[in-house]
């Protein structure tokens, strides 16, 4: 069974090909360039490197969000198109769970987060002693609100992700010694982890590819404002 994995939900670009539980190639780059130009060349490159043609893959895993709207859409658009035209099933995985999985060897609560600007984050918390069961669901939170929730759990929390440093001072101030910083080597998404998580899901039917959409975890601003206006009118 050959998998292609794609994670472009945030500034890092991660792609991998896994065959029968072995990584053939896995690449990650984090240089904050526009994904639109770079993702297809990166995919072409790894296929060439391992001498596999696109038609030989059996399934595709993609990071489904949350994250940068545009980044998530580029990954999902490419994954959907490959899945549909190659007729191979497509599995979506939370971009936050992909990050948390890097630190799954830690016994306890793992919080992965992505900077959503203005002191907001996309974040989730998982319990690694229970197979990465979500304790705080994937969502868009104010950083302070998230830390309140984590405080209530009353256990040490490991923070992982390339954006954690943007908030580390605040995290320490609120959680004190309960806050543990994962080593930076675990901070970037791994497309192999993504595939590993996808393998644990049931393979969807090919028909599901057309209706596959990103999980933005947030309404578009115009839509949120419009809904507010409608409520105001009632």
């Amino acid at each position: 069974m050959i998998w292609l994995g794609i994670d472009t939900a945030n500034s890092p670009l991660a792609v991998a090909i896994v065959k029968d539980g072995q990584i053939l190639t896995a690449e990650v780059t984090n240089i904050k360039v526009n994904h639109s130009a770079g993702v297809m060349p990166a995919i072409e490159h790894i296929f060439k490197k391992v001498s596999i043609s696109p038609k030989e893959i059996d399934a595709i895993a993609v990071s489904q969000g949350p994250g940068s709207y545009t980044g998530v859409r580029i990954g999902v658009t490419i994954a959907k198109t490959l899945s549909w035209t190659l007729q191979k099933p497509l599995v979506g995985v939370s971009s936050l769970q992909v990050l948390a999985a890097n630190a799954a060897m830690f016994q306890g609560i793992i919080c992965s987060l992505i900077d959503a600007r203005r002191q907001n984050v996309y974040a989730a918390a998982y319990d690694s002693t229970m197979g990465l069961a979500p304790i705080v669901e994937d969502g868009h939170y104010s950083m302070l609100g998230l830390l309140e929730q984590l405080k209530e759990i009353g256990k040490p929390v490991l923070f992982v992700g390339h954006d954690v440093d943007n908030f580390w001072g605040l995290i320490q101030q609120e959680l004190g010694n309960s806050a543990i910083r994962a080593p930076y080597a675990l901070d970037l998404p791994s497309a192999a982890q993504l595939i590993h998580l996808a393998e644990q899901q049931e393979l969807p039917s090919i028909d599901a590819t057309h209706t596959f959409v990103p999980k933005y975890c947030r309404l578009a601003e115009a839509e949120a404002n419009w809904l507010k206006e409608q409520k105001g009118k009632q």
């Binding site: 526009n34 639109s36 130009a37 770079g38 993702v39 297809m40 060349p41 995919i43 072409e44 696109p54 038609k55 709207y69 545009t70 859409r73 580029i74 999902v76 658009t77 490419i78 959907k80 198109t81 490959l82 549909w84 035209t85 190659l86 590819t209 057309h210 209706t211 959409v213 990103p214 933005y216 578009a220 601003e221 115009a222 839509e223 419009w226």
Partner: protein, 345 residues
């Protein structure tokens, strides 16, 4: 020699996602539509009074594989029957462009097909190649939501911009005036209809700019409409929206027609075409038809569904680019401000 070489038919898949339509189409030999699928988002954007880029991008992701599949199904073709994939590279909303472009790149890669990035306005112009053969030198009046241009083509794939708007595009002016008249988005077609049914017209100015210029300006006209409404409001008077619509449309149509006619004469063109969403305008079509009938120059305008955004026009322009040897690689990116560049001399 003297040998007869049969040219192989050319089948091009076009993909378009620059604004609020997700579209895919297959065109044969650059002029014959085999399939043409458009998923419009207009209903979704109406509640916002205009196209919201983020919402547009979200819809494109939902639709893109569906419209490509539908284009293949309607054509009864498989990816291996195609010769190339052509996709709108720009101009347009960047987030929207990226969806069509990345789908096109993934499709081309998976099926080992050449890829060509196409200029959206070249597409609007080449919509005419789907109706009748283009003859050069040709003059194109491009009037859409984002563009108002006179383009001279001395040859296939060869563009010279001889005039353009210095401020608002014609479609933009229509939409803004519609807002003044409290007409819901998109207002262009409605103003056209009101003007058509009106029994009188407010006298608004015509903006000609310099005497020999082929440029346009519509922001002054728009302001004149706003002032007219404002003054009426201050006097506590009701305006007659039909008279305003007709007055506005008469001004736009007169200037567009006169400048197009003067350019057609100066450059001695064999054919004049109109392209873009505003070329759906009844008043404009009639005025151009009458003017060029009198002048004895053939004038064409595509049917409605080829005036607004579609992928057949992208495949048509892309066919000409493909034949000229133009190719894009997998680094193809969305270019919101892309300039129209000739691909032939």
């Amino acid at each position: 020699m003297g040998e007869f070489i049969m040219e192989k038919d050319l089948y091009i898949l076009g993909i378009e996602s620059s604004c609020d339509e997700t579209a895919a189409s297959i065109v044969k030999n650059g002029h014959e539509i085999v399939s043409n699928v458009v998923a419009s988002q207009i209903e979704s954007h109406k509640r916002f009074g205009g196209v919201v880029p983020e919402i547009a991008s979200r819809h494109h992701v939902e639709q893109v594989t569906i419209v490509i599949e539908e284009a293949l199904l309607q054509a009864n073709m498989k990816p291996e029957d195609l010769d190339a994939v052509c996709v709108t590279e720009g101009p347009g909303l960047v987030g929207a462009l990226l969806i069509g472009i990345n789908a096109a790149k993934a499709f081309a890669f998976a099926n080992n097909l050449p890829l060509v990035g196409v200029h959206h306005i070249a597409g609007h112009i080449y919509a005419n190649a789907l109706i009748q053969p283009m003859e050069f030198p040709l003059l194109a009046l491009v009037v859409s939501g984002g563009h108002t241009e006179l383009v001279l083509m001395k040859n296939d794939g060869c563009f010279e911009l001889i005039g353009e708007t210095r401020d608002d595009a014609a479609g933009e002016a229509y939409d803004k005036v519609a807002r003044v008249l409290n007409i819901p988005y998109p207002g262009g077609p409605k103003i056209d209809q009101l003007a058509h049914e009106s029994d009188g017209a407010v006298d608004f100015p015509r903006v000609w700019l310099d005497h020999d210029s082929y440029d346009f300006s519509f922001s002054g006209l728009k302001s004149a409409v706003i002032n007219y409404k404002h003054n009426a409001d201050q006097r506590g008077e009701e305006i007659n929206p039909m008279h305003v619509a007709k007055g506005f449309q008469d001004s736009v149509v007169e200037v567009l027609t006169a400048k197009t006619l003067r350019a057609a004469r100066e450059f001695n063109v064999k054919q004049v075409i109109a392209a873009g969403g505003v070329s759906a305008n009844k008043g404009l079509r009639t005025a151009l038809e009458e003017a060029f009938e009198k002048e004895g120059i053939p004038f064409y305008v595509p049917p409605l569904k080829l005036c607004t955004d579609n992928a057949a026009m992208i495949a048509a322009a892309g066919s000409s680019m493909f034949k000229a040897g133009k190719r894009s690689d997998l680094t193809l990116n969305g270019r919101p401000g892309l300039e129209l560049v000739s691909w032939n001399k």
